[in-house]
């Protein structure tokens, strides 16, 4: 056992610089949300077990018939769109839940900040590992329940708890009238718990706990309004598609264990250079299976299909889980396993290609979606593609950087969309309309009604589009720039991907990235134009009911808006003379340094600063062009009414998302079900049962013969006896 031995030796030699600081409390980080989960879950259970007078579920036994029971389901969140609902009632324990839910995450954020302060002071170069107990001890497999604190995990912890706390606050207002309020916060707290376990776990199995745990919470939250079949389907789809990815993760773990005999990060890092052949098939296979896991969790081709459907969940959930945190876990995994990927250039290139194709592919779909959340969903897939481009090209810092800025502006976009949907829903609710509150064709001109949301959404749009000085500009620019650099000189350039030289592949990826960035600017501007500008299409009756959201919702938006605006200064490039350059890169260097160095080997030593500037200008120009094109093409024309003549040709293909869902359904799901039913169950089982029955028949037939011999006449028996005796005598007496 390398890892514990090394650890013990290290501990014995000298205490880790972080011990004795706030980092000693790292175990408490996930416990806050866990405690929140337990409290909220208990409240939810108590509320349903003993319905009080103010509880909307109190009348559940008096539902007179199925129709009424069906309508009165617990699905009356702002997104569910049902106007005939009874007047919303606050949950019986709403006040307690409102306090416990956000507070649990807020406390975790405070602790994370304290740990950050300690870590910023100490600058440890080795990870700080805390071991609690033996989780799975079996022979030479020793998986401990242990947390690892280093710059990477702490960065993620800060994002999760920080953005998470803001989204929890937003949810207090957004979900306030939902009958499942306590259940909602229980799930949300549980999610934060698992997410923290994911990033803090000191070994792959512990990470896997969080990995599947967040999948579970995602499942529960997507299907939160489970009474609608589509929502339940979406949750199930998310879980199963993620399971396909988890299959890859598991296989990768098995291979790692068979090869290296250990599964914790420190052990793998120590053993990988000696135990695996760099560039060899084994490490490549390991990385490809890890990548399969990432593709599932981070919604990359071919496993991206669950994320658009996941928009069925409440909008804050989409912001937290399906934009800011969980879906980026794949990026985290690649960065965490950076050394392995650096040892497998072919796998790294696969990561980058997958990211680039996904980024471009999802961006094209985003162009033609009408549901505001669907646009954001495809945008998320596309941005995740950018992150994978980055980490695939060995730009680990850029990947994490984009992860952080994306968490800011995409959470803002989702929450802003949530604010819009909230207003639309309230308006339609008040007028008993059955229109779709999420369809952009029903919006327009909301600028006047919701000015705060409008401004903040524009900040986020500029950030995601990559307009200079906003957060997304720096991160996206760094990704594209690094890819260009790697194409110029790195071990990736010298490797081959499906026979194509790595350099060519990287240049192609760079080009695809530029196109995707352009499309991003287009579809985001389209979203803004249709939602906030032009004529209002909500309807005469509903229009007066459109209001800006309460401060509890706009407050978190403001904070995120500020972060989206200035978040880019976390890691400004060296050639731009703004503030301290490359802060994040220096911060993350102890973790990602070795892998980056390995992958960048062979690069020309001195990068020309003018080239970096030129690349930045190109990126900025692309973003600006995208916005201009969108404004020119769509600025004056109002979109078609909902339900009007469908698009044709390529537009129809885009609007139907390339028919991928249909293809999966017809090509995999249905044949599998039919095969299981007809061939396996009715066929094979029927055959086996038939054989068994046949065997039984044969013996019944033999039994019939025996039965016929039983005449019941003593004379016959006497004869049989004598004959039998004669036979025995003939045999025995010689």
């Amino acid at each position: 056992m390398i890892a514990p031995a090394l650890q013990a030796a290290a501990l014995a030699a000298a205490p880790h610089p972080l011990s004795g600081t706030a980092a000693d409390w790292v175990w408490a980080l996930p416990l806050f949300p866990l405690a929140g989960f337990l409290v909220n879950a208990a409240l939810a259970v108590v509320a349903v077990a003993r319905p009080g007078p103010a509880d909307p579920s109190a009348d559940r036994h008096s539902a007179p018939d199925a129709t009424a029971a069906g309508e009165d389901v617990a699905g009356h969140g702002p997104g569910a769109g049902d106007a005939d609902a009874p007047p919303p009632a606050r949950h019986r324990f709403a006040s307690v839940v409102s306090l416990v839910g956000p507070l649990a995450v807020g406390l975790a954020f405070a602790l994370a900040c304290a740990i950050f302060a300690a870590m910023a002071r100490v600058h440890p170069t080795t990870p700080f590992v805390q071991t609690y107990f033996h989780w799975i001890p079996a022979g030479d497999l020793q998986v401990n329940a242990a947390f690892q604190l280093d710059q990477l995990s702490l960065t993620l912890v800060l994002v999760i708890t920080g953005v998470g706390a803001l989204i929890h606050l937003f949810s207090v207002a957004y979900m306030g009238d939902d009958p499942g309020y306590a259940r909602y916060f229980a799930y949300l707290n549980l999610f934060v718990f698992f997410m923290l376990v994911l990033v803090l776990g000191a070994s792959y199995p512990v990470m896997f706990v969080g990995w599947e745990g967040v999948g579970l919470c995602s499942y529960l939250l997507i299907g939160f309004w489970y009474a609608d079949r589509a929502n339940a389907d979406a949750g199930k789809k998310a879980f199963i598609v993620n399971r396909i990815g988890d299959f890859g993760f598991l296989i990768a773990m098995f291979l790692l264990f068979v090869q290296l005999g250990t599964l914790d990060y420190t052990g793998v890092l120590a053993a990988a250079p000696g135990g695996l052949e760099a560039g060899g098939p084994v490490v490549t296979v390991i990385c490809l299976f890890l990548l399969l896991g990432c593709a599932g969790k981070s919604a990359q081709i071919p496993l991206y299909v669950w994320l658009p459907d996941a928009m069925a969940g409440p909008t804050p959930v989409s912001a937290l889980i399906h934009a800011a945190t969980m879906v980026t876990a794949g990026v985290y995994l690649v960065v965490r396993s950076g050394l392995l990927f650096a040892m497998a250039p072919a796998a790294s290139l696969t990561v980058a290609v997958m990211g680039a194709v996904t980024a471009l592919f999802a961006a094209t779909i985003g162009l033609k979606q009408w549901d505001i959340k669907k646009v954001l969903a495809y945008s998320t897939i596309s941005q995740l593609g950018f992150m994978f481009m980055a980490v695939g090209a060995g730009a680990y810092v850029a990947g994490i950087f984009h992860l952080v800025t994306h968490a800011f502006f995409k959470a803002l976009l989702f929450l802003g969309a949530g604010s819009v949907i909230h207003a639309m829903h309230a308006a339609y609710h008040a007028t008993h309309s059955h229109e779709d509150a999420q369809d952009m064709r029903n919006m327009g001109g909301l600028r006047a009604r919701m000015p705060v949301t409008w401004i903040l959404m524009w900040i986020a749009t500029l950030a995601i589009a990559g307009v200079p000085l906003f957060a997304g500009f720096f991160s996206k620019d760094e990704i594209l720039g690094t890819i260009f650099d790697r194409a110029g000189g790195s071990i990736l350039r010298d490797a081959h991907w499906l026979g194509i030289p790595g350099g060519v592949v990287l240049y192609a990826i760079y080009g695809m990235g530029l196109v995707a960035a352009f499309l991003t600017a287009v579809y985001m501007t389209r979203l803004m134009l249709y939602t906030f500008h032009g004529q209002n299409r909500t309807g005469e009756a509903a229009r007066p009911h459109l209001h800006e959201a309460p401060w509890l919702m706009t407050g978190p938006l403001l904070v995120l808006g500020a972060l989206s605006a200035v978040g880019g200064f976390l890691n400004t490039p060296a050639f731009l003379p703004i503030g301290p350059a490359e802060t994040l890169a220096r911060w993350l260097d102890p973790v990602v340094g070795p892998a980056t160095a390995l992958i960048a080997a062979g690069a020309p030593g001195d990068a020309d600063p003018r080239r970096g500037l030129l690349l930045s200008l190109i990126a900025a120009a692309v973003a600006a062009t995208g916005i201009v094109v969108a404004v020119v093409r769509l600025g004056r024309s109002a979109p078609v009414r909902a339900g009007a003549a469908p698009e044709t040709g390529i537009e129809s293909v885009l609007a139907h998302r390339y028919y991928v869902d249909e293809a999966y359904d017809r090509g995999i799901v249905r044949p599998l079900l039919a095969f299981s039913n007809r061939v396996l169950w009715q066929g094979v089982d029927g055959l086996i049962d038939g054989l068994v029955t046949l065997g039984a028949r044969v013996w019944v037939w033999f039994g019939g013969i025996g039965s016929a011999l039983q005449t019941g006449r003593v004379g016959t028996y006497a004869w049989a006896l004598v004959v039998g005796a004669l036979v025995v005598l003939a045999i025995t007496i010689r």
């Binding site: 025996g706 016929a708 019941g712 003593v714 004379g715 006497a718 004869w719 004598v722």
Partner: protein, 97 residues
């Protein structure tokens, strides 16, 4: 006298067997069985002269079993006769499978 005894025993036994096979009256069949048992007893006694008194003890057992069999068997015959008014074995096939 051993060989003669055994020959006699065999002969009596076979006569009993033939009786069982040729008669239909349940009571006579029973008596034939008794004859066969007695034939066997004779064998035991004859061999007892050669091997000792254990054989005679066995004969006691055989007789006891024969007595028990006669008691139960005749009771059954009586019961059947009450029921069917016959002791003809060919007309009794309650045990037909």
């Amino acid at each position: 006298m051993l060989a003669e005894s055994i020959a006699l025993s065999a002969l009596l036994f076979v006569i009993g067997v033939v009786g069982v096979l040729t008669r239909r009256n349940a009571i006579i069949v029973f008596m034939c069985v008794e004859l066969m048992l007695n034939a066997v007893n004779l064998t035991f006694i004859a061999f007892g002269r050669v091997y000792g008194y254990g054989a005679q003890a066995i004969v006691i057992f055989v007789m006891t079993v024969a007595a028990a069999e006669a008691a139960v068997g005749l009771a059954i015959v009586i019961a059947i006769f009450r029921h069917r008014q016959t002791v003809d074995l060919d007309s009794i096939n309650l045990l037909k499978g």
